[in-house]
């Protein structure tokens, strides 16, 4: 049965372990980026007190009587600066342990709780990056993401003879397959969402439908307070062709990714093109973390052999 084959065939956990390293670094960056403004945002006299957030996310119940929002965060209970700093440092420690792969089964779940707590503490200042990051962490918490390139694996290797530990690290895992497949499905759905929302813009005869008309990249690069590089020299007639080609490439690329990434033959090409597209969006949007998170998430489609070749090389020859 195809359903069973797709979800329950034991898979090499290498992609999951590689993603743990990269998602862990992104999570550390995300939580650390609050450090300079921790009390400014979250303290009792901060910009977004728990009361303000409660007012904005609606404490009232919906028509059916159910609570209107579910934004639980342990940061809601820390009001004083020293309390905030204690939980902030503990959160960073958990993320560091997760990235290093120590007690990964527990720290992978705790890492998700930590990141979600920051996401839910002030949902109005979240963006696309948070959505992609929490998606990756949620699925990494399901599978054995610490079986390779982790402190857990190093400790296990010290306890077991080398032959035995190598065999266990190369064992297939059903949970690894479920975890990776869920991440792949979710990511493909996000790509489809991006494409559909871009093409769904209303057209009033003069403005709108900017992705259809090949102008969207212009309106991104014209945002002088957001862009990282000034590319307005593309206002010329030739430049507008470049802008149109760039815009269309983004839309068609997203559509192709959502539909064709499942074809093994198309996968390497799509991964390279997607990486190029996301890198190209960094200077015009200024959304550095989001674009990098998408590049990392795309690597869920990279095969296990490539992960096993690349990660040890990147870690300086460490096999475990």
């Amino acid at each position: 049965m195809r359903w069973n084959r797709f979800w329950f065939t034991p898979a090499d956990p290498a992609p999951l372990c590689g993603l743990r390293l990269l998602a862990g670094v992104l999570s550390l960056y995300y939580v650390a980026s609050f450090s300079t403004d921790l009390t400014r945002w979250f303290a009792a006299d901060g910009l977004l007190t728990t009361e303000t957030v409660r007012q904005l996310t609606n404490p009232e119940t919906s028509d059916s009587g159910a609570p209107a929002s579910f934004h639980w965060s342990y940061l809601n209970y820390a009001k004083k600066p020293f309390e905030l700093w204690i939980v902030h440092l503990l959160g960073l420690a958990v993320l560091a342990l997760f990235t290093a792969g120590l007690w990964t089964r527990i720290t992978s779940v705790l890492a998700l709780v930590v990141v979600l707590s920051y996401v839910h503490r002030a949902p109005m200042i979240n963006g696309q990056f948070e959505a992609v990051l929490t998606m990756m962490l949620a699925y990494l918490a399901i599978g054995p993401s610490g079986r390779l390139w982790s402190v857990d694996a190093w400790l296990a290797a010290r306890r077991e003879p080398p032959a035995g530990s190598r065999a266990s690290s190369e064992e297939g895992s059903v949970l690894a397959n479920i975890s990776l497949s869920l991440l792949q499905c979710h990511l493909a759905a996000l790509y489809m969402l991006m494409c559909l929302t871009q093409l769904g813009g209303a057209y009033d005869g003069e403005n709108g439908a900017t992705w259809w008309r090949g102008e969207a990249i212009w309106w991104l690069l014209a945002k002088s307070e957001s862009r990282l590089v000034d590319l307005t020299f593309l206002h010329t007639a030739t430049g507008r062709y470049v802008v149109a080609a760039w815009t269309h490439a983004i839309v068609y690329g997203e559509l192709a990714f959502a539909l064709l990434i499942w074809k093994p033959l198309a996968r390497p090409l799509l991964l390279v093109l997607a990486a190029l597209a996301w890198v190209s969006l960094i200077p015009v949007t200024g959304l550095v973390s989001y674009c990098l998170a998408m590049i990392v998430a795309n690597l869920a489609f990279l095969d296990a052999e490539t992960w096993r070749a690349w990660v040890p090389a990147a870690l300086g020859g460490t096999r475990r």
């Binding site: 109005m124 948070e130 949620a138 709108g208 945002k223 507008r240």
Partner: protein
């Protein structure tokens, strides 16, 4: 890959696999509803979202107010800024206004201030003064407590975008993306009682009644509308630029 591990063998047993299949299906269904309801959910999707919200929102799978389309060439897609005026300064002096921002371009630290301004402007541009007052009061209270100098006023401005034609225009104001022509004020409030209350300033001669932030009817920031919209902001200063126009 050699063989399944012990725990995985357990997962392969039929009842466990059936349960896992059911959970995967439910998860994918919740996800499909949450993702397809991103823009304009139907009444059915609204109802399903409400049912699934404890799961989808708690795990941040609910992406209904996140702009994955990046831009739709609307006023909401322009840059936004919140600025405050220290007490004793002249509101007419453009240099006296201090932007509420921090961090380098491209960092999430800076993006958070931009999103706060964008969301406040979203409500301001739609005339939702009650929600704007919640933001203004929170910001005013914070600034009043953090700074030695009290705050007199807060304002929210839209930084409009240049079209390709404006870049090569003979009009110097058109060619400068930071000229006053490209800024549009959507909301201005006087900060009273150290931010505990705010008073919307309609214009130089007209003043609206004081609005206290506490007890305001709350409005969901993560409601279906989100920060999306194609309406043209309703508060314009004479002589200021129109929303982003077509480059044609």
């Amino acid at each position: 890959m050699k063989s399944a591990s012990m725990s995985d063998n357990e997962a392969e047993s039929s009842p466990l696999r059936s349960l896992a299949s059911l959970l995967i299906f439910i998860h994918l269904f919740c996800l499909a509803v949450a993702i397809t309801a991103n823009q304009a959910p139907s009444p059915l999707q609204e109802r399903l979202l409400e049912i699934f919200r404890p799961y989808t929102q708690l795990l941040n799978f609910d992406v209904s107010f996140i702009r994955f389309d990046l831009t739709q060439e609307t006023a909401d897609d322009a840059d936004h800024r919140i600025e405050y005026l220290p007490e004793g300064e002249d509101p007419a002096n453009a240099d006296a206004w201090v932007p509420l921002t921090a961090g380098m371009k491209g960092t999430d630290r800076r993006l958070r201030y931009q999103r706060l301004a964008g969301l406040t402007n979203f409500f301001g541009s739609r005339g939702d003064d009650a929600t704007c007052a919640v933001f203004a009061s929170a910001i005013g209270t914070h600034l009043a407590q953090q700074r030695q100098q009290p705050i007199d006023q807060l304002r929210l401005r839209l930084h409009l975008l240049q079209s390709p034609e404006q870049i090569v225009s003979v009009n110097l104001d058109d060619r400068d993306p930071n000229s006053s022509r490209f800024f549009q004020e959507l909301y201005r409030a006087r900060v009273i009682d150290g931010g505990l209350a705010v008073q919307k300033v309609e214009d130089a001669t007209q003043v609206a009644p004081t609005v206290r932030a506490s007890g305001q009817p709350a409005r969901r920031a993560d409601s279906r509308g989100g920060v999306r919209g194609s309406e043209t902001p309703n508060a314009t200063d004479p002589g200021e630029a129109a929303p982003p126009s077509s480059p044609e």
